[in-house]
Amino acid sequence: MDFKGAYVRALRGVREDVRLYLVAISSLTVAFLCLGGALLGVANLTALSERWGRSDRMSIYLRDDAPEVDVSRLTMALQEHPAVAKANYNSAEVSRARFLDGNSALRDLPRSAFPATIELELKPNAHPKALTQIAESVAAQRSVVEEVDTYRSWFERIAALIGAGRTLVIVLASLVLACVMAIVANTIRLAVASRREEIEVLKMCGATNAFVRAPFVLEGTAQGLCAALLSLGVLALAFFALRAEVGGALRSFLDMQPVFLSPLVMLGLLVAGGAVGAAGSALSVRRYIRV
């Protein structure tokens, strides 16, 4: 295979109809932008699911008759645990005062409704199973601990909701991918159709199918790569501009920073762009190559 010759002929093909080439790249960029947007949605929902689907807080409700010495020992033991960031003891009075803060309607609730607690927060890098292990060992100390609440059920529900949203976005991304394939195939087919006479002449002169196909595949690969690169650029610009605007609000509301596509996904998008362009060209040329 003469790659240099194919490259020269591909350049000649581009030069021949630069406008059609640019239109093809624009269409492909829009298609890849949709795909990239959908993938960005998947990436952020995955990050949100990981962040929210993992509970890193625990409330340990203490017995009213728990000896102070045991409570102090438990609090200290928790503070020294390598996975724990904070373990604060709140007396029954403090718990009551916090709950009733500005809420006069509940002032008549009995004192026993507000047990003393230890509020525990894990380190961000703590092992996902650390919370369960701590909860089990704490709950075993029945002389001190009344109940342990890890809020897991709440987090699991949120995680399920986010998971459903992510599945929906993945389905949408698949649909977008199918549309991208159709757009790529049609755009490239249009470009190839405009040069069917060239293909016919080459075949009449004795060109093999590989010789005819090579420049078209090179052009398709270049188109796909350019479009994928452009769409990533546009997506990155839009993402970082938007993050500068609403990133703070999102962080305080969702407790997470929006994430951009991982390098692996970006590389995948570029490779997919090139591959889809090459395959689209090869398939489109096949239609005219039988001369």
């Binding site: 003469d2 030069r15 080459l202």
Partner: protein
């Protein structure tokens, strides 16, 4: 082992061993083209070609004429294997082209030059690019391509016009570019499908003369036309295709074939 490999390759691609214009010595004594009982159907029970028998010797100049729709283009397309016959055999240099695999067809076509009525030149390409593409396919060194394209352009009267864009040329000049592309590979057979159909009578005669000059260098020419003004001013062999049947209307020998005939006699 090597011989076996080469034999297998030869069987799969019977024309692969041809270099353009370079036939095997044992083939030189055979007619360049033989059609035996060739039928082609596009509609059931209505053959476009009905049992065509034809032999064309090396170096001949043959006119094929007939009314529009008589099957002239179909006959030529069978020869350069754009389509395959439904019945019969087509032997090019003794080998049956109708049995070729798709992968072998390019190697057959490298031994033929084809010229069309609508020129089929790339308007955005230069004259040089339009001609050199036929040699780029053969993967020849650039220096050799340059010299051979230069020679071909000189033969068709377009010397020094290599850098011109083809779209800026007249119809007659564009057809000359197409002829240069067809002959630059030094094919054994030159097929012309109504090459003067889009040209005025004076230019048509010029183009016919150009084909005759090419024929005088030894290339066999099959020239399909329904232009009677051309047929009447030349004495080449004339075949008439009508209702799918081919009849010999006039015997003739080109100058080159006459010379060769005299040498061998």
């Amino acid at each position: 082992m090597g011989t076996q490999d080469s034999g297998a390759r030869r069987a799969a691609r019977p024309f692969a061993f041809f270099r353009a214009g370079k036939d095997e010595p044992q083939n030189l004594s055979k007619p360049i083209l033989v059609l035996e009982k060739v039928f082609k159907y596009f509609q059931r029970d209505t053959p476009t070609l009905r049992g065509i028998d034809l032999t064309i010797e090396r170096g001949e100049f043959v006119f094929i004429t007939g009314p529009s729709g008589s099957g002239k283009s179909t006959l030529l397309q069978l020869i350069y294997r754009k389509i395959a016959p439904d019945e019969g055999r087509i032997l090019f240099s003794g080998k049956d082209v109708s049995r070729l695999t798709e992968a072998s067809i390019p190697y057959l076509r490298r031994n033929m030059g084809v010229v069309f009525q609508d020129f089929k030149v790339m308007p955005h390409w230069t004259v040089y690019e339009n001609v050199s593409i036929a040699l780029e396919i053969l993967d020849l060194p650039p220096r050799l391509i340059r010299s051979r394209v230069g020679e071909a352009l000189e033969r068709v009267g377009l010397a020094g016009r290599g850098d011109d864009r083809t779209s800026t040329l007249s119809g007659g000049e564009q057809q000359r570019v197409a002829i240069a592309r067809a002959i630059v590979g030094e094919p054994a057979l030159l097929i012309a499908d109504e090459p003067t159909g889009n040209l005025d009578p004076t230019l048509a005669l010029d183009i016919l003369t150009l084909f005759e000059e090419i024929n005088q260098h030894g290339t066999t020419v099959v020239f399909a036309t329904h232009d009677h003004s051309l047929l009447s001013v030349r004495t080449h062999r004339l075949l008439v295709l009508e209702d799918g049947r081919l009849t010999e209307a006039r015997q003739g020998l080109s100058g080159w074939a006459q010379r060769k005939h005299a040498q061998t006699a």
